[in-house]
């Protein structure tokens, strides 16, 4: 009883939210876990001296919020995605400005594409992150390969 991703989900957008507050402690943990050694990730004084409101997130930090947002789609049984068959294919971050601790970000999920080829299905999602005033902060595009057979 294998399932395959339902192509009719392509183009679907989900309601924005909930708002997520970026945490200095999570930034520090993430920086240490990925070898990002700059004091701007851990020292608020250094970050402020560099013109930032607070400690700065490393470039891939938003993956956690993005994946939590993608779960609305990935974990929806109707989407037909068997997570035991999922391989991460591609990831792309666009940062309109640095993300800092205290940022309150509103994520919006869009399923960009569901495409089958060679027995596999490539599923591309995009999570747009805006501030509470609606200004774009970043976007995270993720492509998952759902293995067939």
């Amino acid at each position: 009883m294998t399932t395959t991703p339902d192509p009719s989900f392509a183009g679907r957008s989900y309601p924005a939210g909930p708002v997520h507050t970026v945490s200095a402690a999570k930034i520090a943990e993430f920086a240490r876990a990925t070898g990002a050694a700059s004091a701007l990730h851990t020292d608020p004084e250094a970050a402020r001296a560099a013109g930032c409101a607070d400690v700065v997130a490393p470039p891939t930090f938003l993956v956690s919020l993005a994946q939590a947002t993608e779960a609305q789609y990935i974990e929806d049984p109707a989407a037909g995605i068997d997570f035991t068959r999922v391989v991460h294919g591609e990831e792309a971050f666009t940062l309109h400005r640095p993300v800092v601790a205290g940022d309150r970000l509103v994520p919006t999920l869009t399923v960009e594409r569901v495409r089958s080829a060679g027995g596999h299905t490539m599923v591309t999602t995009r999570v747009d992150l805006a501030d509470e005033a609606g200004a774009e902060v970043a976007s995270v595009r993720s492509m998952l390969v759902v293995r067939g057979d």
């Binding site: 999570k26 876990a33 050694a37 701007l40 470039p59 891939t60 956690s64 971050f93």
Partner: protein, 160 residues
């Protein structure tokens, strides 16, 4: 982790093909567990041998996003300014098997791929390998940098 910060790079410091950093990163089970906690990605294929093997993998593998995050760290050090990154993308071409004991070494080279003076950005191409096998494909970071003194053709060194 107390390396002295180098002076931030400027666009005029760069030439296409220039190597900005060459770094080696040890990935062990400890590294994977630390990343799982930091990122919230607790997929057991990244720490449990039995689950990894049942999923058809040779053994526990690193999170692709751990590899991607770690691969850019050498470039961040070379830039001297982690806020310079405007975009970063990669494909995941081969999983990295991480042994129960010891560590696997990720080797990363960052090379200037293109310079866009008008946009004030440079594209940096990252090569990431484990034992000669590429683990990331088309890994590219776009960084925004100040133009630097050479952009002012007078060359008198005054800040522009």
């Amino acid at each position: 982790m107390t390396s002295a910060p180098s002076a931030p790079l400027t666009l005029s410091d760069l030439t296409v093909g220039q190597e900005l950093s060459r770094t080696r990163h040890e990935l062990s089970r400890d590294t994977l567990v630390r990343y799982a906690g930091a990122s919230g990605d607790f997929n057991p294929i990244h720490y449990n041998d039995a689950v990894a093997t049942e999923a058809g993998l040779p053994g526990v593998i690193a999170h692709g996003m751990l590899t991607m995050g770690t691969a850019v760290s050498g470039l961040l050090d070379a830039l001297g300014d982690p806020t310079a990154v405007r975009a970063y993308s990669s494909r995941f071409t081969n999983p990295i098997e991480v042994p129960a004991h010891g560590a696997t070494t990720l080797e990363v080279v960052a090379v200037v791929g293109a310079i866009d003076l008008e946009a004030g950005t440079a594209r940096i191409d990252l090569g990431a390998q484990v034992e000669g096998t590429a683990v990331l494909g088309r890994a590219r970071a776009t960084v925004a940098l100040p133009p630097g003194p050479a952009a002012a053709a007078t060359g008198d060194g005054s800040a522009a």
